[in-house]
Structure formats: C-alpha cells, structure tokens
C-alpha cells in the first residue's frame, strides 16, 4: 500500500495533538466547571444564611408589633407547637396556648376575647438591637434582643420596662419559628422616680401573674434584677464569631476570556455583591454586641471588638487609640462589671450602613439612647454614632467609633428643663488626641456630619 507514510504520520500527529489538546482543554474545563458549580452552591448557601438572619429579625420585630396592640394569639403563633417562654424568674411556660395566656396576662388583654386592649392600657414593648447567630447547618439560630417598654394604665400607673431576651429559633418545613424564649426582665420602674429610685429586691420577686397563673416548670436560672447588676447569659462567647464575619477581602481574580471565564467573573461579582450585603448584617451584629457589653461594664470584651489601631471618641472626651487605650477610656464609665445601682444602657438603633465596593471597610451612622443611673440619680442621654469598620481577614472590627452627644438630661426634670453639659477630657486617663470636633450638646444643636449622600438624590447633604 502506497501510503504516504509521512503525510499519514503527520496527519495522525496533528489529529492526536488536537485530540490531546482538546481533551486536555476539556479536562481543564471540567475542573473549572466543577469549581464554578461548587461556588454557585456556596453562594446559594450563603444567601440562605443571610436570608435566615433577616427572617429571625423579622420574627422578633413582628412579635413586638403584636404584643403592642394585644394581638397575643398572633404573637404566640410565632412559636413552635412545643415552644417555651421563660418569664424572668417566674418560670417556663410551654406551648402556644400557655404562651398566649402568659402574654395576655402580662399585657392586660382579655382572656376570653381578643385581639385588643382595654381603654387606658399601654403595652408598647419595643424590640431592639438584635444580635443574630445562625447555626452552620442553617436550621437553627439564636438571637439576643433588648426590649424597651412603655407600659401602664391611664391615671393609675406609668412604667418603663427594660429586659434582655435570648431566643432559640428553629426552621420547620422552611419556616423560621421561635423555639424557646428567655425573657430576662431587668426592671419595670415607675415613671415617677424612674429606675434610679428602685430598691434592691429581696426574697421571691416572682410577678403577680406567676402567682395567679403558675408556670409549667421553674426557671432554670434565678437572678436579682436592677439595681443588682445581672448579665443575662449570652448565646455567644468571646473571640471570633461567625455572626460578625463575612467574606475576607480579596483581589478580584483575572478570568480567562472564554465562555467559562465570563461566568467565573459573573460569580466573582455575585460573591462580592453578596459579601457586601452579608457584611451589613455582620456589622449590625457587631454594633449590637458592643452595646450589650457596654450595658454591663464589660470593657475588655468591648475593646476587643476594635482593630489594633482602632480609635474611640465619646463626646468631648478626646480620642483614644488602640485596644488597651479604648479599654481604659471605656472604664471612665465605671469599674468593670459596674457597681450596684449603676445602669449603663446604650440602646443601639437606626443604622445606616454602607460597605465599601471592595468589602474591605464600612461606615455606619447609628443612634443611641442612653439610660443611666448611679448613686440614686437617673439620667437620659441621646446621641449619634458615626463609626468606621474594617474587615480583618473576614471578621468585622471597629476602626473608629465616634459618639456625638446630642443631649444629656437629668431624669427628674428632663433634658429640656435640666440639660447636662458634656464632660471635658479626663485628667486621670487623658486621651491620646484632643476632640476631633469641638461642639456643645443640648440646648445647642450640632448636625453630626453624614458619611453618606442623600440616599435618593445622591447629592451631598447641604444641611437644608
């Protein structure tokens, strides 16, 4: 056979080369495709994780709106069928029907008719400052909340309520529900005199409701409310927590200019977009954690939430730099763990959070209402934070915390009749730098500079 052997050999070589090249390329493609599919799966899981945080937040807020207006059955329906509700030291109530009656009795609703509240009953229970931890498997979660209550009966009593809530949640058939609620009441203080006038509780301080409507099980934990300083157990520990993490900063990888490369780049973009919205929730959690530590004088834990060179500035007290100095600055509020009769509530609310385009840094405006007591004197405060944060290898930390005081006011007379001036820089623990902005608090008013443009027009805030 007159095969032009050279030609055949060449042709075979070319074909073989093509085949190998082609199969080699396909092999590479297959690995890339598998990697891409794995990333798509991871993105879907991370979305579910962030969605779960928002759903848990929604449950807690919906609960508050129901109890506000005597929709106690609706509130009880947010629990699992065998859900539990521990009310302070009263004990634990089990199941929706018992929880409904518990809430109805505490809220002053009708045991036979509902929903609604009788004339003159006030039961506003604001649900604030969620710190939400979703479990790795995505089927259970925990959250810490603050309840700030405005309670009372017209012409009979007006009360301030203060409590911390620790919840367990489960996802049943795709629906998030409250499985267990531990309601750690701190005080119900008469408006006249306020919390500063409360005397230490001695003996059994179960509520009247518990006596008429005994719980199904005793409370697993006994404690004394304010003016004793009690730290309700945290569902989270110290150190690195998933709740304050999102994707670590990374440079966008270069992707091949082929069909697969375009999809890889698309996945990169989606991951970054998701990381930024995930970071918003992590930052909410971080600010909430900080607030709960400040509440209880846990200065070291609070200072550990700052980056190594993080700065802290409060009112006109100057700037403190680095974790050790931040901790010392915080101790200006009192000894670690506070003293008996000291209230140091810093309510963290009204966030406006912006995460940078590369997910490396963030800025946020927050508001804080402040409820203080020391040596039998009560005080109100209000102010605005303009904070900055840094994504430190996937964990969010404060790089700058700056609280601008709007007002301090004496509890008895109020902020309008008796405003209190800000403290000057401490001489005992002097700051590293003077205040970055010199201003006076109420009755003077200071517009705290906005870190953001108008969210609708995107124009800088001109102050008008």
């Amino acid at each position: 056979m007159a095969f032009p052997s050279k030609a055949v050999s060449l042709a075979l070589t070319v074909l073989l080369g093509l085949a190998l090249c082609s199969s080699g390329f396909a092999k590479d493609d297959a690995a890339r495709l598998a990697a891409l599919k794995a990333r798509v799966k991871a993105i879907a899981e991370e979305i579910s994780y962030v969605e779960s945080i928002t759903k848990v937040q929604r449950l807690g807020r919906a609960f508050g709106y129901y109890t506000d207006k005597g929709f106690f059955g609706e509130a009880a329906d947010l629990f699992t069928d065998d859900g539990t509700f521990q009310w302070g030291v009263d004990g634990v109530y089990k199941g929706k029907a018992r929880i409904r009656e518990l809430l109805t009795r505490h809220g002053g609703g009708s045991l036979t008719d509902g929903p609604g509240l009788p004339f003159g009953r006030l039961n506003l229970r604001m649900q604030l400052q969620p710190m939400v931890t979703v479990a790795a498997d995505g089927n259970s979660a925990h959250a810490r909340w603050r309840e700030w209550g405005l309670l009372g009966q017209y012409k009979k009593e007006a009360l301030w309520g203060d409590a911390v809530i620790e919840d367990d949640y489960v996802k049943e058939s795709g629906v998030w529900k409250i499985a267990a609620r531990r309601y750690y009441q701190n005080f119900e203080a008469p408006y006249q005199g306020g919390w500063a006038a409360l005397k230490p509780v001695t003996g059994n301080w179960q509520t009247a409701v518990a006596k008429e409507f005994p719980p199904d099980a005793p409370a697993p934990k006994q404690y004394q409310p304010f003016p004793t300083v009690f730290v309700p157990p945290y569902h989270y520990g110290d150190g690195t927590l998933r709740a304050i993490q999102s994707r670590p900063p990374a440079d966008a990888p270069k992707r091949a200019d082929d069909a697969l490369g375009k999809l890889e780049a698309l996945a990169d973009a989606k991951e970054l977009q998701l990381a930024r919205t995930h970071s918003v929730r992590a930052l909410e959690n971080l600010q909430a954690m900080y607030g709960y530590y400040i509440d209880k004088g846990q200065w070291k834990k609070a200072a550990a939430l700052f980056s190594r060179n993080g700065t802290y500035e409060f009112g006109q007290s100057g700037v403190y730099i680095g974790n050790a100095h931040v901790e010392r600055a915080l101790s200006l509020m009192g000894p670690p763990g506070l003293v008996e009769g000291q209230l140091n509530n810093y309510v963290m609310v009204q966030p406006i959070i912006h995460v940078s385009a590369d997910n490396r840094t963030a800025k946020a405006r927050w508001r804080s209402d402040v409820q203080l007591a020391r040596d039998g004197k009560g005080r109100w405060g209000g102010g605005v934070y303009e904070n900055e944060y840094v994504n430190d290898k996937g964990t969010w930390k404060f790089s700058k915390l700056h609280y601008y005081v709007t007002f301090w006011g004496d509890y008895e007379q109020g902020w309008a009749a008796k405003p209190i001036a800000m403290d000057p820089p401490s001489t005992a623990i002097p700051p590293d730098q003077p205040p970055t902005l010199v201003y006076q608090s109420f009755p003077k008013l200071q517009v705290v500079p906005y870190h953001y443009a108008n969210p609708v027009t995107n124009k800088p805030n001109a102050g008008e």
């Binding site: 993105i43 929604r58 449950l59 947010l78 604030l128 007006a158 405006r365």
Partner: protein
C-alpha cells in the same frame, strides 16, 4: 472520563482509536459544557435576584432611617427629596398631602423653618423597622416605630410606609404615620397625654381629609399590618371590640 481518553493515547495501533475517542469525548464534553454553562448562568441569575432582594431590604431601611435623621435637624429639603414626585404623606390626623412639594410644606410650614434651632429638641428616632420587598421587586412596605424624644416630651408612632424603586433607587411612595401616644415629660403617659392632630389644627391645610379618624392613647387604635403572620401566613385578624379593640378601616 477525560482520564479514560488519555489512557488510550499509548501505542501507535491504538493511536487512531485514541484520536477518534478523543475527538468524540471532546465533542461530548463540549456539548455537555454548553448546557452546563447555561444552567450555571441561569442559577447565577436567580441567585442574583435573591441577593438583590437582600440589598433592597437594607436600602429601604436606609431611606426610612435617613428620614428620621433629617427630621432631627429640620432638614426639610433633604427630607422631601426622599419622596417620589407623586408621593403622599399622612401623619397623625392632619389629612393627606399630595406630592413632594406638599411634603416639604407639611414640614416647613407646619413644623418650623429649615435647620435646627437651639433649645428645641425634636429627635425622631426610627426603631424596629420591618421591611417587606414585594414579589415585583420594585415596591416595598415598611412598618416602623418613630419614638420621639422632644423638648415637649414623648411620642410613640408607627409608620406603615410604601416605597417604590425608580431607576434602581428606592423612594417613599406613601408615608403614613399613625400616632399611638404623645405625652409630656413631667408625668409621662400617666395622664398627661396629647390629642391626635386634626386638619385645622395648624397650617398648612391638607389636600384630602384623613383616610381614617382615630384617637390616640389612652384610646386604642391599631394600624393594620402590611404583612401576614410570618409563621402561619394568615392575614391579620380584626381586633375585637369586646376586648377593647376598635375595628379599623371605618
């Protein structure tokens, strides 16, 4: 399967076989990839929609919270810029104001000139926002609390607001702020409560009368929830008059 093709690329006799197989596998892999790539692209698209819904929750809440900070300092122009051109506003019992310019007038004529005034505190705090992004992705609702600490004392109101997304930007379409309770500082809500507002209480006058007449604390009124129960999915039951709850929507 690609390892399989490679394994055959040994002896010359099996070479042709390898070439054929290799081409076959490559073609098969190529065909497989196209379908796979389309599936991945589709998945990323729908995941992208869910990511956008998560961002929407934050963005809607930012507009609501920004509103509160603007009220604090009487920045009425910045505040009214948060509203769509044809948005409506109804606060307390003062009736309905139509359009962005009337939102500005409600604030600047009714509440005072632009800018903070020393000695006058009007902190209008936004608490407990519960946003819902609708299926269409371009409309949303928020229930929120406005907790007021002012020179005069306390206020607790709800907002049940509607938002629209125009050219990718969320704005107020309808701001509705029913009052729950206003009280002076000295004894709080013990008995020093303040009546709901009404259209003729102060200028400017509304474009439309109130959509609902109700009384504030110590009376009962419940603004309907825009959302069903998050667990049962059931719509809000009506309050019972026998329990003190007035029927709403009259």
């Amino acid at each position: 399967m690609f390892n399989h093709a490679k394994k055959h690329a040994g002896s010359p006799g099996r070479c042709v076989c390898a070439v054929v197989l290799g081409l076959f596998w490559a073609a098969a892999a190529q065909a497989h990839s196209v379908a796979d790539l389309q599936a991945v692209e589709k998945d990323l698209g729908s995941l992208g929609d869910r990511i956008e819904r998560l961002q929407d929750l934050t963005e809607v809440e930012i507009v609501q919270n920004a509103y509160g900070y603007y009220v604090d300092k009487a920045q009425w122009r910045s505040l009214s810029d948060l509203f769509a051109e044809d948005a409506t506003l109804e606060i307390g019992g003062k009736g309905v104001f139509l359009g962005r310019q009337r939102v500005f007038e409600y604030m600047s004529v009714g509440l005072g000139p632009i800018g903070p005034r020393d000695g006058l505190l009007i902190d209008h705090q936004q608490f407990q926002c519960l946003p819902t992004i609708n299926e269409d992705g371009v409309s949303a609702e928020v229930r929120c609390i406005a907790f007021v600490m002012s020179s005069g004392g306390w206020g607790h109101n709800y907002y049940e607001d509607r938002f629209i997304k125009e050219n990718g930007v969320w704005k107020f379409k309808k701001l509705h702020g029913p009052f729950n309770m206003y009280a002076g500082y000295k004894v709080g809500w013990l008995d020093n409560t303040i009546l709901n507002t009404y259209p003729e209480k102060w200028p400017p006058w509304p474009d439309l009368p109130p959509t609902i007449i109700y009384l504030t604390y110590p009376n009962y009124y419940i603004e309907p929830f825009h959302y069903p129960n998050p667990v049962t999915g059931k719509a809000m039951p009506p309050p019972s008059p026998r329990a003190g709850g007035e029927a709403f929507g009259r």
